[in-house]
């Protein structure tokens, strides 16, 4: 281990004690209690008491495990849980294959257009699940899917059917591969190539090296990516709602949604199911943390090395082809499907010829969309709430990330654990928990954009901190130490050394937060009011209203806006050190 590595492996040794550390930690813990502990307590209370804590008061004397017992004894819950595990397990396996393949192609081969492939590998992260599912139902529904229509026309006797467990797994896998890619690409980039070189000298084939040396060496990163993608899939509603419903394949999230829609709504039961989901997720998060904390520094330790690039010969065009096919599957085909649906007056397409019948196309869905004053207001509100979330969430995440990773402040372990907790809470139920928790607060928080922003900051804190920590950990401590020696204080060092160096990482984290906030549906459902309608809620309204045309038109508008915003963020983050989630992507 080099001296440089040693400094990073043991970050606490050189970590700075901050003045009034306990006061700082107490302030952070207070914020986290308000954002995380308090709403989660409301959720647990709801599950234990069969009441709405706001309506019925905190009748703690009626605590009972009845809801949990009922839920655990219900065979339909078992069935939904089994489906969730199969769909997410299968999806994760596929995500690993895709994510790992592309991270290897981008980092360790001489495939042409690697920047393009790196960008393509991250695109699915920006597609809202509901939009992806609607687009794929238009493409690959068994009877009327556009793909099926085209292959029927071509005389091929095969049909896609996305309304199956296989379909769910495929869509989960292709859209959640970026999580595996993010982890494995940075691990591959930073790993020590010595063992690979030794194997190569000993005459091992490239494939053998890959499977016996390279992948085992980055196993912790693969496992981390796997667990994270599995956890994220467990909490997704849009994909199983659209693709699972016609085939009656309930999963836990769709089951929870049904309970909240039942007349009368069964929130306490939903909260119990959500807490079971949280326990499963919490266990997986714990596993992931174990994996990361055990070996993650090894990837950073390899920073001094430059892993070799494999010369693929003509097959480098095959690897490029894989990326093109992936782009086709996750972006081009779904976007085309949305375009067809958005511009066609209605979506009955008799045959391939009628697909090209221009008389069937019009701007009617866009006209109706923008005729609705809520559409423009929701776009404006979404941008506003996204910006507030990104700025304040970014600052909070930086404060937490810096405290946890770069200081010896009291209680930093608790801060770390509490700030990770929201990963485990399904969005659909956390919305009602925020409502219960925050509506009674004095002041005019409820009914403003700020309550939505607070919910998003809380919900996506783990993602933001993770994105920021990557870049914080890659800045060598010597630079901060030099600043201290030169007499700069803590804030001065952060301002002149850490922030400028971590700028791309900070912007990437804020961009991620902005995008996640724009996409977020679950926690918005109960917090929006007539003045604070956001795009995700309006999109669900249109989808539930059964108008695929207007839903697709709005999805296209949302996709276009996201593309523009990502372009701006990319432009802003140019010119800094090449260390960030952006780089990982």
């Amino acid at each position: 281990m080099t001296a440089e590595t040693a400094a990073l492996v043991a970050p606490r040794e050189g970590a700075r004690r901050i003045p009034f550390g306990w006061l700082w930690s107490a302030a952070l813990l207070l914020i986290l209690t308000f954002l995380v502990i308090y709403p989660v307590s409301m959720l647990v209370l709801g599950a234990l008491t069969n009441t709405n804590p706001v309506v019925d008061g905190l009748s703690v004397y009626d605590l009972s495990l009845k809801n949990f017992i009922t839920v655990l004894g219900n065979p339909n819950v078992h069935y939904a849980l089994a489906n969730s595990l199969i769909a997410c397990g299968g999806g994760t396996a596929l995500a690993v294959i895709i994510g790992l393949t592309f991270s290897w192609v981008v980092v360790r081969t001489n495939t042409p257009c690697k920047r393009f492939i790196a960008a393509v590998s991250m695109i699915p992260l920006f597609v809202p699940p509901l939009v992806a599912a609607v687009a794929w139902s238009i493409l690959a529904s068994p009877k009327t899917g556009l793909l099926n229509m085209i292959i029927k026309w071509a005389g091929i006797d095969f049909r896609f059917d996305v309304y199956t467990m296989g379909g769910l797994i495929a869509i989960f896998g292709i859209y959640y591969a970026p999580y595996v890619y993010m982890f494995t690409a940075s691990a591959l980039r930073n790993m020590d190539p010595a063992l690979e070189e030794a194997a190569e000298v000993s005459g091992a084939s490239a494939v053998r090296i890959l499977f016996t040396i390279t992948f085992p060496l980055i196993a912790p990163a693969i496992l981390s990516g796997m667990l994270l993608s599995f956890i994220v899939m467990l909490g997704i509603y849009g994909i199983p709602a659209v693709l699972g419903a016609p085939a009656d394949i309930p999963v836990l999230t769709t089951y929870i949604f049904k309970l909240t829609n039942w007349s009368p709504p069964l929130y306490s039961t939903a909260a119990s199911v959500a807490i079971i989901l949280m326990i499963v997720t919490g266990f997986l998060v714990f596993l992931q943390q174990k994996v990361v904390s055990g070996r993650s520094y090894i990837t950073v330790a390899g920073k001094a090395f430059r892993p070799g690039v494999m010369k693929l010969g003509p097959s480098r065009y095959f690897t490029l082809g894989l990326a093109v096919v992936y782009l086709l599957v996750v972006v081009v085909l779904p976007t085309l499907a949305l375009i067809v649906a958005a511009f066609r007056k209605f979506l009955f397409i008799r045959d391939v010829n009628s697909l090209f019948d221009m008389k069937a196309y019009s701007l009617i869905h866009f006209e109706r969309l923008f005729d609705n004053p809520l559409a423009m207001r929701s776009i404006w509100n979404t941008m506003e709430v996204g910006l507030i979330t990104a700025i304040f969430g970014g600052i909070l995440a930086f404060a937490i990330g810096y405290t946890v990773h770069r200081t010896r402040a009291t209680g930093r372990r608790s801060i770390d654990v509490i700030s990770t907790l929201p990963v485990a809470i399904p969005g659909l139920v956390v919305g009602v928990a925020y409502l219960w928790a925050w509506i009674g607060l004095p002041g005019g928080l409820y009914g403003t954009i700020w309550i939505l922003a607070l919910a998003f900051i809380a919900r996506f804190m783990p993602d933001t901190i993770k994105a920021l920590s990557t870049s914080l950990l890659q800045i060598h401590r010597e630079l901060e130490e030099a600043s201290w020696i030169c007499g700069k204080g803590l804030l001065g060092t952060i301002r002149t050394i850490v922030l400028p160096l971590a700028r791309p990482g900070v912007i990437a984290a804020m961009t991620l937060l902005f995008i996640l906030a724009i996409r977020e549906l679950g926690s918005s459902l109960f917090l929006y009011t007539s003045n604070t309608m956001v795009m995700a809620v309006l999109l669900l309204d249109y989808y539930e209203g059964g108008n695929v045309g207007i839903t697709s038109a709005f999805s296209l508008v949302q996709t276009l806006l996201l593309a523009v915003l990502i372009g701006i963020a990319h432009f802003l983050s140019r010119g800094g050190t090449d260390t960030s989630v952006g780089r990982a992507g």
């Binding site: 706001v54 339909n76 939904a80 049904k258 829609n261 979506l347 809520l374 108008n547």
Partner: protein, 346 residues
């Protein structure tokens, strides 16, 4: 789109001018409320409207209302039934109910929170059927009826009655059904099926292996796209598709049409009570009801409907409304039995 509407409702279009004239006359006669109410509403200038109905038709209602009263801005909050009730209850308990008016599809749930609503009666209250009112302050702003819709490109011999839906020729997976636990409207339908069509109706119908959908909107959408050829849906959902030119036709079943009445009211805590009353008054007025029937495919609880959709003759098609006591009492057990019969896992 408009051409088809006119063709569809030629008679209505022909009497357009007359209707406008009548409308003006009614307005003069304070059909929508006193001059004082209108002035007060004008002063408030806005209102917040919570609804469990879909966004698109509600936006059209608001637009039509604004043609007559452009000075009231109606701000819409739409949520599915269960979620809407939770929001209302929680907001009210915290003293932060922002709704001025509420329109909900489940009269049973609305009855449970009736004390949140103030005394309210539309000017034409006497024109409404008494048997559909659940509380004096709640009114049937919207009335929806079940129908059998089909894709004309795929179904050349469409079913005309509920009993036809049990015929093997409409299976397997040709018919789309909405699941019983989806809400009050579907509960009304399955109650009708069992009480009117026979105890064994569900079992006979389930044999055709229908495709089950979580709500009416995706069912109608699947029918338009050709995923299924027949959809058992609320008339208004299929009607909008037909109005927009989709290959859809709709039959009111000859053996009965289950109806679902919404409940709408003005909240006690309304910040804009006059604007809310004016809006509901217009919706409940003959003009408002006529607009909802003609343009959106709703029905009405008015004793003398100003207009009936094509094929809907109340004397022939036997409209059916549930006994409200049974509607509340039988629900859980019957829905569970329906789930078992149709193999639906709730």
């Amino acid at each position: 789109m408009k051409k088809l509407t006119r063709r569809e409702f030629g008679a209505a279009a022909a009497s357009g001018l007359a209707a406008a004239a009548i409308g003006t006359k009614r307005a003069d006669a304070q059909a929508y409320g006193s001059q004082a109410l209108i002035e007060a509403a004008k002063k408030e200038g806005r209102m917040v409207y919570y609804t469990a109905d879909f966004t698109e038709p509600e936006q059209e209602v608001i637009k039509a209302f604004n043609k007559r009263f452009p000075f009231v801005k109606v701000e819409l909050v739409r949520a599915p039934g269960g979620q809407l009730i939770t929001r209302i209850k929680t907001e009210a308990a915290a003293g932060k109910l922002t709704a001025d008016a509420v329109n909900h599809s489940d009269r049973g749930l609305m009855l449970g929170i009736a004390d949140l609503f103030q005394e309210y009666k539309p000017p034409n209250a006497a024109d409404y059927r008494d048997d559909v009112l659940v509380a004096p302050q709640l009114w049937p702003k919207s009335t929806l009826g079940w129908s059998i819709a089909y894709n004309t490109e795929l179904e050349k011999n469409p079913p005309k009655s509920w009993m036809d839906l049990c015929k093997p020729e409409y299976g397997p997976r040709k018919i789309g059904q909405v699941i019983a636990p989806s809400g009050g409207t579907t509960w009304t339908r399955i109650m009708f099926e069992r009480q009117v069509l026979g105890e064994d109706y569900w079992a006979k119908q389930a044999k055709t292996q229908p495709v089950l959908y979580p709500s009416g909107a995706p069912t109608a959408d699947a029918m338009v796209r050709g995923e299924i050829s027949v959809a058992v849906v609320l008339y208004n959902i299929a009607y909008i598709k037909k109005r927009d030119g989709a290959p859809v036709e709709i039959n009111f079943p000859t053996d009965g049409v289950p109806l679902n009445y919404y409940a709408a009211g003005v909240t006690k805590t309304a910040a804009n009570p006059n604007a809310a009353k004016l809006f509901l008054n217009w919706c409940m007025s003959e003009e408002g009801q006529e607009f909802q029937i003609k343009e959106l495919g709703y029905l009405t609880a008015l004793k003398n409907p100003p207009f009936n959709p094509p094929g809907y003759d109340p004397k022939v098609i036997k409209p059916w409304a549930p006994n409200f006591e049974q509607y509340v009492k039988l629900r859980d057990q019957w829905v569970e039995e329906w789930n078992k019969t149709y193999g639906y896992r709730q």
